[in-house]
């Protein structure tokens, strides 16, 4: 009976089409190092983070990597999986492992501390350089700010506000690879969401901070950031917004 067969297959933990084991290459070392091969049992609904965790807990406890929430909220588990930057906790092995092969490396464009853990300081320092802090214009004694949800500025901020700071866009960006000082998609996206915040008072200094040589105008619109953003945000659109705003501000002599 065909239906019973389908039901029986669904109830098993293993897909009969799956390979029994995964052949996993993992980067070991720091900036200098090499890929080391591991064999990991394949499981149903297995994520890339599950694979890394299996290696660390069952095969080699000295493997370093970073994770926290396991549900795509904290942005700490991003790695390069088969050549592409991804959040590993929500990347299913089924989607990325061709013929059961996985290559896992640290994120590109950031210094490697050890194995799969990169130094994120450079990444977040760029947020600070892009004036990514909210500059209040009211005090606690003022009433609540009213920002209409359907206003253009609010919608503009909404489009980029869900960034979890995972660094995937920064790793996917070739302009960052060419110029390590380039602020990068995440920091510029943050600057754009604050630029669109009607309560913020730091617009002129922020625009001046992002309009330099290593700022928004350095973007080549490759759109690799939006292609890879696990939250489906569009930093290229945010950067394009900053380019227009900076151009207008320069024409008006404001920056």
């Amino acid at each position: 009976m065909k239906t019973a067969g389908v039901a029986a297959r669904r109830s098993t933990a293993y897909d009969p089409d799956m390979t029994e084991t995964l052949s996993v290459q993992v980067w070991r070392g720091s900036e200098r190092g090499a890929f080391v091969a591991y064999s990991v049992p394949r499981r149903a609904s297995q994520t890339v983070l599950d694979v890394v965790t299996h290696i660390q807990r069952r095969i080699d406890a000295s493997l370093s990597y970073r994770f926290a929430c396991r549900v795509g909220m904290c942005g700490s588990c991003a790695m390069t999986v088969n050549g592409r930057p991804r959040w590993t906790c929500r990347t299913h092995v089924d989607r990325v492992a061709k013929n059961g092969d996985l290559t896992i490396a640290p994120l590109r464009n950031l210094p490697v501390i050890k194995d799969l853990a990169v130094d994120m300081r450079e990444f977040f320092d760029k947020w600070a350089r892009a004036k990514g802090q909210f500059q209040p214009t009211a005090s606690r004694r003022d009433g609540f700010a009213v920002v209409r949800p359907d206003s253009a500025a609010r919608k503009q901020a909404d489009a980029g506000i869900e960034c979890i700071g995972c660094g995937v866009c920064h790793a996917a960006c070739d302009v960052v690879a060419w110029n390590r000082d380039y602020l990068g998609p995440a920091a510029l996206n943050r600057a754009w969401t604050l630029f669109s915040d009607t309560r913020d008072g730091g617009q002129a200094t922020r625009l001046a901070a992002v309009a330099g040589d290593a700022g928004c105008h350095a973007c080549h619109s490759h759109q690799s950031c939006q292609e890879h953003c696990p939250k489906h945000l569009n930093p290229t659109a945010s950067i394009a917004g900053l380019k227009r705003a900076a151009a207008w501000a320069a024409l008006k002599g404001q920056i």
Binding site: N82, S221, H222, S224, N234, T236, K243, R244
Partner: protein, 113 residues
């Protein structure tokens, strides 16, 4: 080159724009060199024009026209990305720029042949 994180339409559009620009920059000195035949005399230029009427040269010329059109439409696309409000149909823009370039090349081929 375009493996892994680079393998998507808008990155290819960037590569095509850059490569066509470089190819056109290399072509320009040759173009001026040939134009200079006109100053040297009618015979030299006519000789070159006869040579250029051969089918392989015509095909190369059509390819050159495609590169020129790709660089123009690609440049207009970049200007639209940078100066007009954002549009979510970026891949459609890339496809339109590419399609238009091929059409221009075909039109040239029809007129020239």
């Amino acid at each position: 080159m375009a493996s892994g994180h680079r393998n998507h339409p808008t990155y290819w559009a960037f590569v095509l724009h850059r490569v066509s620009g470089l190819a056109l920059a290399l072509f320009l000195p040759v173009h001026f060199y040939v134009l200079a035949f006109a100053i040297e005399g009618e015979a030299a230029l006519d000789g070159f024009l006869r040579w250029s009427a051969q089918p392989p040269v015509k095909i190369a010329e059509a390819l050159l026209i495609v590169l020129l059109a790709a660089h123009l439409t690609g440049g207009l696309r970049v200007l639209a990305v940078e100066f007009l409000p954002w549009r979510d149909w970026q891949k459609t823009l890339v496809a339109a720029a590419g399609g238009l370039s091929v059409l221009v090349g075909l039109a040239f081929f029809l007129v020239a042949s």
